[in-house]
């Protein structure tokens, strides 16, 4: 069950206010996304912790409703 860009952005922005979110639809099917999330909340966190924060924002849809999300995270410079 694919997810729209708007839905993904809304979920991440709600959990990580102020985050910058760049989404790329890899396959044109709303089911294979690449996302680059830059958020101040990542400061001091390991890469695994940063990615978990995004997965948590997606509320357990990762690997289920959202089949594939190629994720990269960054801290604002």
């Amino acid at each position: 069950m694919p997810m729209s860009a708007g839905e993904i952005e809304r979920l991440i922005a709600t959990a990580l206010p102020g985050a910058e979110i760049e989404l790329t639809d890899l396959a044109g099917d709303d089911d294979h996304w690449a996302a680059r999330v830059t958020a101040p909340q990542f400061a001091g966190k390991s890469r695994v912790q940063q990615h978990k924060m995004v997965y948590d924002a997606l509320g357990g849809r990762m690997g289920g409703a959202l089949h594939a999300l190629q994720l990269s995270t960054a801290i604002p410079t």
């Binding site: 890469r47 695994v48 990615h51 978990k52 997965y55 357990g60 990762m62 690997g63 594939a68 190629q70 994720l71 990269s72």
Partner: protein, 108 residues
């Protein structure tokens, strides 16, 4: 510890590097798993792989074991390192090769 967790614990402590993936290094069955294999091959380290498509209990159990929702998953010296994205970010930053060296992991 649940049955599947002790099975997983045995697997990850049994080898320096273990990759839980979909398919096998020769025949990866998913793009992310294929990327993880390519990264490990590029690092030139010996590793064992577990095809989660052949073992549904492991496929589900590994997600709870590491509190990580997706496959593939990389373990070095029994510790969860990350999935395909983390491996890529670490590889591009040279951190993966450095960690493998620091952990004196056997070469392929």
């Amino acid at each position: 510890m649940s049955d599947v967790n002790s099975r997983i614990s045995d697997i990850v402590s049994g080898s320096d590097v273990v990759l839980f993936m979909k398919g096998t290094p020769l025949f990866p069955q998913c793009g992310f798993s294929s990327r993880a294999v390519a990264i490990l091959d590029h690092c030139g380290v010996a590793y064992d792989s577990v095809d989660v498509l052949q073992d549904m209990e492991i496929r589900q159990g590994i997600k709870g074991y590491s509190d990580w929702p997706t496959i593939p998953q990389l373990y070095v010296k029994g510790e969860f390192v990350g999935g395909s994205d983390i491996m890529m970010e670490m590889f591009e930053a040279g951190e993966l090769q450095q960690m493998l060296d620091e952990q004196s992991v056997a070469r392929a």
